[in-house]
């Protein structure tokens, strides 16, 4: 018994660098050998709600997509941005991107570029999508979009006057959009869209956010203020799978270029690494607790 106790106590006193190394390996191996471990991805109800909400949109509907994330949270949010844009373009929805973070400008550009370069959809700038520039102010910008978008934005990201862009005709405030989709990693994010724009104006809102934001956003989801949520990388992987299935099962459509190759997104391939790292973390937490308990017992 003493021997087992000693092993656990030693495990609890492991050098933190050894734990970092093991976590690194647990992430690296599944990424190097993707086929080695395949963990199935089960869709959650919140991701399904998001999919259904966007699926209910019709051709010509206007969706405002807010990019409030940067390079540091790109691995979590970017795959869901691409999947959401793919879903919207496959339905012939008009997309209006607005960056609320300084880096959001680049993230929006990369996401749109990725979708355009995939050649899956017959889309053109100023006809199917428009990119608005970054404006500093966070909540104030959201408030401005809710009340008078033209008091803030007069040009698009290419410095073209929005009055000269037909896609912007009739767009003056938040109620002129049929849906708002928030992609966020902090403040301003989904909470600010709920508070400053969507609740007051009854505009439907869904969100895709980082894992760390989910527990704070869930009360809004439960109350219906946010219609479904994509929670971090697992949420992105679930949404990617749903969109992948949807695009493959899609019949003849004027929006989809059937000759282009439909490839699953990046989040799906990352989920094995994510799951194995989590398992290892759980094992370390259990060992750490047992070790702590044994040290305390021995000291007493």
């Amino acid at each position: 018994m003493d021997k087992i106790e000693n092993i656990f106590i030693k495990l609890g006193q492991l050098d933190r660098r050894f734990i970092f190394f093991l976590i690194g390996l647990s992430v690296l191996i599944p990424l190097l050998k993707p086929g080695l471990i395949n963990i199935p991805i089960k869709t959650t109800s919140n991701s399904e709600i998001v999919f259904k909400e966007l699926d209910n949109l019709n051709e010509g509907d206007k969706v405002l997509v807010s990019f409030a994330y940067g390079a540091s949270t790109k691995p979590e949010i970017h795959p869901m941005s691409v999947a959401v844009l793919q879903h919207l373009f496959s339905k012939g929805v008009k997309v209006y991107t607005v960056p609320l973070w300084p880096e959001g400008l680049m993230m929006a550009k990369y996401a749109i570029e990725e979708v355009v370069e995939s050649n899956l959809f017959n889309i053109k700038e100023h006809t199917n999508y428009i990119s608005l520039p970054y404006k500093a102010g966070g909540e104030i910008i959201i408030r401005g979009i809710a009340t008078d978008i033209r008091s803030i934005f007069r040009q698009d990201v290419n410095n073209i006057l929005i009055d000269d862009i037909p896609m912007m005709n009739g767009i003056n405030k938040i109620t002129d959009f049929d849906f708002v989709f928030d992609l966020s990693a902090g403040v301003p994010g989904n909470a600010e869209w709920v508070q400053f724009a969507c609740d007051e104006n009854n505009v439907p809102l869904s969100s895709g956010c980082t894992s760390i934001m989910v527990t704070d956003a869930i009360p809004y989801v439960e109350s219906g203020q946010i219609r479904g949520i994509l929670a971090g990388m697992p949420g992105a992987a679930e949404y990617e799978q749903m969109v992948f299935k949807y695009l493959n099962e899609m019949g003849d459509s004027k929006f989809l270029n059937k000759e282009a190759l439909i490839i699953p997104g990046k989040a799906t391939s990352r989920m094995s690494a994510q799951s194995i790292a989590h398992l290892l973390m759980v094992v370390f937490i259990i060992f750490g607790n047992i070790s702590y308990y044994m040290i305390r017992r021995r000291n007493n």
Binding site: T73, P75, A136, R154, Q155, S223, A273
Partner: protein, 250 residues
Amino acid sequence: MYEIIGVWCVVLLTLSIFSYLYGDNPFYKVAEHIFVGVSAGYIFTITFWDTIWPNLFGRLFPDFVKAGFEFDITYIFPFILGVFMLCRLSKRYDWLSRISIAYIVGMMAGLKFYVFLNSNLLIQIKSSTVDLSGTYYNIINEFIILVGVISGLVYFFFSKEHTGVIGKVSRIGIYFLMIKFGASFGFAVMGRISLLIGRFEELIKFSSYEIVKGHETIIIYNPTLIILVFMIITLTYWAYKDKKKDIIEK
């Protein structure tokens, strides 16, 4: 050429930040300072050219800026408040910056008061009620949420000593809070691992001799491996030197 330099910078900075896992070292320090400097510079530039220039100066000097706005003299007030804010840098006139701060605090407090009351209080109270016409599953779920809300609120009620019934209810509140903190911790771990995966993917991508971008093949000369080996050798040398220095000092 710029592409190759970019790739080598990505790998060098990523590995420099990772090197902190071993311990504080000059690679990490340099990467940290570059990150702070570049972030500040980028945010300043983009805020000036995308917001201040078109939205403020575009209204004060519309013919010169040509941002699509018309002349609006009222924008002289935000301009003055902005200048006042910069007076913070002067010891003699720093009191002027308080006027700008007072405006920001007052305006945000007023704005937040309404939206918070509406979205976080009224609608949340409404959604905490139990809908008895729903399914058994929904009723049980909503009842658990109601118990969690009430017991959580009781835990933060400090006007009465937490003994007797109040003590027991607040204890239940603690359990709900603990579950919330546990979930937050789990999600935080998940987020961090996702970021690690992102960086590893990039390092793996740049661990080859060449990469394909669009229709073009770019020779990048295996930056991940070269920088990793260089860093390990340098860190080992530094660690050895530090150890030797310690021994001499002792």
